[in-house]
């Protein structure tokens, strides 16, 4: 019997106009870095060099913050909310018009499947601008207190897992509330941010309102530590989040930090099992598990544990790993060599600890950074793979006996970003959601995002919220 082969259906790169090198986006213009330093960004799927990107020095950070300050004082803070909204609407529409270009570039630079960048990342990024555009002239009615005022200049540092989406989560609310922005994208995924800089130009956004500086850790430190930055917004690892908190401690700077996670995806014996299996797959293999709210700990009721594991393994055997630009790809490449090394190391730890490792048969490309979807069964709370954030396509399966035990195990982690509950009992969903120390609790679904829904964590997963009315709160000061 012949097998049913799907096409390699690669999305065309022709839609892209990729430059060989990029400057920094300061005061509305692309400018070379003062130090002249640069670094290369590669496609994680092939290790092909995509472009050379400038590394911002302290002087560049200084220039970017100064440009943001000037734009804030002279233009942006004086503009009416309705006018700010017009710019945001314009940006949102341009993002939609150029969606394909952004999707292809995001998949190239990040390694995520085009299916996800096309259907999730880019549409959601545009949705965030649309949503916040609507708030720009209605802040008095957002329930934030009387006469909400912007902070001024916001320094934003974002991670490599959702480059454009995290940019929009940061920039859209900051601009809607009247702040100006200096944003540093991750060093491995700077390209869609630089393409977004072109969108700012296309939208005729006043110079200096959005500044984008590329670079690595030192650039981020310089931005966070800059004396004229009024607020810091960061998404990334808990370690860096703690360093930022230490840096700004004792200053007037405000901060929102959205950090790591080790979410529990809890499956009860009365759950819709086929959909739960889909949710488990989506929870941990979406974006190769490079998701801070990934459902990396599967807590399954002992009475159905074996059945769920069998169904899960059968389902994983149909996952397609490979070329991110192929429309049939379900799981793409690991974002960087460093991340691949970290995942490989932690998976080895899992085996050494005695958990059972399993991966479906799949052929990985010879070039690039790849890691097969992996499931560990027989995991206990004391195992490192149940405690540490792996940030890769690795699922740890644990079991529980009662709802109370599920809650206790789910909360027994330094993190608290998200959780999932799978059950047919509505009352149990509400009871669990009340008990779980997690910023987001999904019921009978996982990894669903919406601009109207606040997102953020408990404990070491950070503080502050992004999205919804709660997200606006982090960008304004109020008298009341």
């Amino acid at each position: 019997m012949p097998t049913f082969e799907y096409a390699p259906a690669p999305e065309s790169r022709a839609v892209l106009d990729l430059a060989s090198s990029y400057g920094l986006f300061i005061n509305g213009e692309f400018t070379p870095s003062t130090g002249g330093a640069s670094f290369k960004t590669v496609s994680p799927a092939t290790e092909e060099v995509l472009a050379e990107v400038s590394e911002a020095s302290e002087a560049d950070v200084e220039a970017a913050v100064a440009a943001a300050r000037t734009a804030y004082t002279r233009v942006w803070s004086r503009m009416s909310g309705a006018d700010r909204g017009k710019y945001l609407f314009r940006i949102a529409r341009i993002l939609q018009e150029r969606a394909r270009e952004f999707a292809v570039l995001e998949s190239l630079d990040n390694g995520k499947p085009i299916r996800e960048s096309r259907d999730v990342d880019i549409p959601l990024a545009a949705a965030h601008f649309f949503y916040h555009a609507g708030w720009a002239d209605k802040l008095d009615w957002a329930g934030l207190g009387a006469d909400p005022q912007p902070y001024g200049v916001v320094g934003q540092v974002i991670p490599w897992n959702f480059p454009l989406l995290m940019l929009s989560w940061k920039i859209a609310p900051a601009l809607a509330t009247g702040n100006t922005v200096v944003l540093k994208p991750a060093e491995t995924t700077p390209l869609t941010a630089l393409l977004f800089a072109e969108v700012c130009q296309q939208a005729d956004l006043p110079p200096g309102v959005v500044n984008i500086i590329t670079g690595a850790g030192a650039t981020g430190q310089a931005l966070v530590g800059h004396g004229d930055v009024d607020k810091v917004a960061f998404t990334g690892s808990t370690a860096v989040g703690k360093a930022i908190a230490r840096t700004i401690a004792g200053t007037r700077k405000k901060a929102t930090l959205e950090l790591g996670g080790k979410a529990a995806n809890i499956v009860f014996d009365d759950a819709p099992l086929d959909q739960a299996v889909e949710g488990i797959v989506n929870g941990i293999f979406f974006n190769q598990g490079h998701v801070c709210c990934a459902g990396s700990r599967l807590l399954v009721q002992e009475s159905v544990a074996e059945e769920v594991q069998e169904r899960l393994k059968a389902r994983l055997s149909t996952l397609r790993v490979g070329d991110p630009l192929d429309k049939n790809t379900d799981v793409g490449a690991i974002n960087s060599r460093a991340q691949l090394d970290k995942i490989t190391e932690l998976a080895a730890v899992g085996e050494a600890e005695g958990a059972q490792r399993w991966s479906p048969e799949c052929e990985l490309p010879s070039k690039g950074f790849w890691f097969a979807p992996t499931v560990f069964t027989g995991v206990s709370q004391t195992h490192r793979i149940a405690q540490e954030e792996i940030f890769g396509p690795v699922l740890s399966v644990l079991t529980f006996r009662t709802p109370g035990e599920a809650v206790a195990k789910a909360n027994n982690t330094p993190y608290g970003l998200s959780a999932g509950i799978w059950t047919d009992k509505g009352s149990r969903i509400l009871w669990m959601a009340d008990q779980l120390k997690a910023g987001v609790v999904w019921a009978n679904t996982f990894n669903k995002f919406d601009p109207t829904s606040p997102f953020g964590g408990y404990k070491e997963s950070g503080y502050g919220r992004e999205g919804g009315r709660h997200g606006l709160q982090g960008y304004v000061r109020t008298g009341a």
Partner: protein, 335 residues
């Protein structure tokens, strides 16, 4: 894994004994059946529809597309179920089944011709000893609202006239009122009346409405001995949808794991284009598995689908899209 259909005649007593074994009970009461059916995992509507939509986005290689089109043609139950059916129309349809595209003898034949019971003899006479099967709808199709003796007489009449396959409808009224025993007993009785003919059980999913009902009806039909579970009569909208078919494919997959017996799936009604048909085949491949990619275990109940598949097939071999008038059509609309 079973790969050939079990066409041995089954008595009602045997079938009931099998069912009691699966349930582990000494008597098949309505309580036992209902608690068994309600013990099945539920179906989450949003998640199920999302999965079906994702399956619909697979992109198929050209060579595989050619293979899939031929496979889909071979899986069709070419159907005419009109009140206005005449021997002339049925003969035309059967001739078409024997030679779907006379200009290209490499074209595969559909699996069966599906007609009302009173047209079985005409169909049988035209199809002769060919490998194209005769399927007949029976049991007071499409409503199923008749007494059991009438339904059984309807079935026996079709089998005696030469039907290889019987498409029966379940009693949706009994099912929706929670009378699972009645539905079960009627299927068992019809299965016995089928003799060597294969039994396809139509759930009429458009009237069952919820996916939980679809899953329960699928399991009930398989428990009662269905050789195939089929979505719809084609007379009720919505007919065969992809999510409903996904739920039924999950059911036959799980039934094989539980009992070691393979049951086929037949979506019927509303599948008109090659593109749609290929989406269903992708679902068969990824949900139930490759073993179901055969006309023994998967069928399309359709009338106009064949012509679109032939058009696409012609386009793939000639590179040009010839248009509907280059495909002989024996069942044009009355209007």
């Amino acid at each position: 894994m079973t790969t050939t259909p079990d066409t041995v005649a089954v008595t009602a007593a045997d079938q009931e004994a099998r069912a009691r074994d699966v349930l582990g009970v000494s008597r098949l009461t309505d309580t036992a059946l209902t608690s068994w059916l309600h013990g099945l995992p539920g179906v989450d509507q949003v998640g199920c529809e999302a999965r079906a939509a994702a399956l619909g986005t697979r992109s198929i290689k050209t060579t595989s597309k050619a293979w899939a089109i031929d496979l889909a043609i071979s899986m069709i139950d070419l159907t005419t179920l009109e009140g206005a059916d005449t021997p002339g129309k049925v003969r035309g349809l059967c001739t078409k089944a024997l030679s779907p595209l006379p200009s290209d003898p490499s074209t595969p034949r559909p699996a069966a011709v599906c007609v009302y019971g009173d047209m079985v003899a005409t169909a049988r006479a035209t199809l002769g000893a060919s490998d194209v099967k005769v399927a007949a709808v029976a049991t007071a199709f499409p409503s199923g609202r008749a007494s059991l003796p009438v339904k059984l007489a309807d079935t026996r009449y079709a089998v005696e006239a030469g039907a290889d396959e019987i498409d029966m409808v379940i009693d949706r009224g009994a099912f929706l009122s929670g009378d699972h025993v009645t539905v079960f007993e009627q299927i068992v009785a019809v299965k016995e009346a089928c003799g060597d003919a294969r039994l396809k059980v139509i759930l009429e999913t458009g009237e069952l409405v919820t996916y939980d009902n679809v899953r329960r009806a699928s399991w009930l039909a398989m428990l009662a001995g269905a050789d195939f579970i089929k979505t719809s009569t084609g007379k009720v909208a919505p007919a065969a949808t992809l999510p409903v078919t996904v739920v039924m494919l999950e059911a036959v997959r799980d039934w094989l794991a539980l009992t070691g017996r393979m049951v086929g799936v037949k979506p019927a009604g509303g599948i008109r284009t090659s593109k749609d048909a290929i989406k269903f085949l992708v679902a068969v491949n990824e949900v139930a598995g490759e073993a179901w990619l055969s006309d023994e275990w998967f069928r399309f109940g359709a009338s106009s689908l064949l012509n679109d598949l032939l058009l696409q097939r012609q386009r793939m071999s000639t590179g040009a899209y010839s248009g509907a008038d280059y495909i002989p059509d024996d069942s044009p609309s009355l209007y």
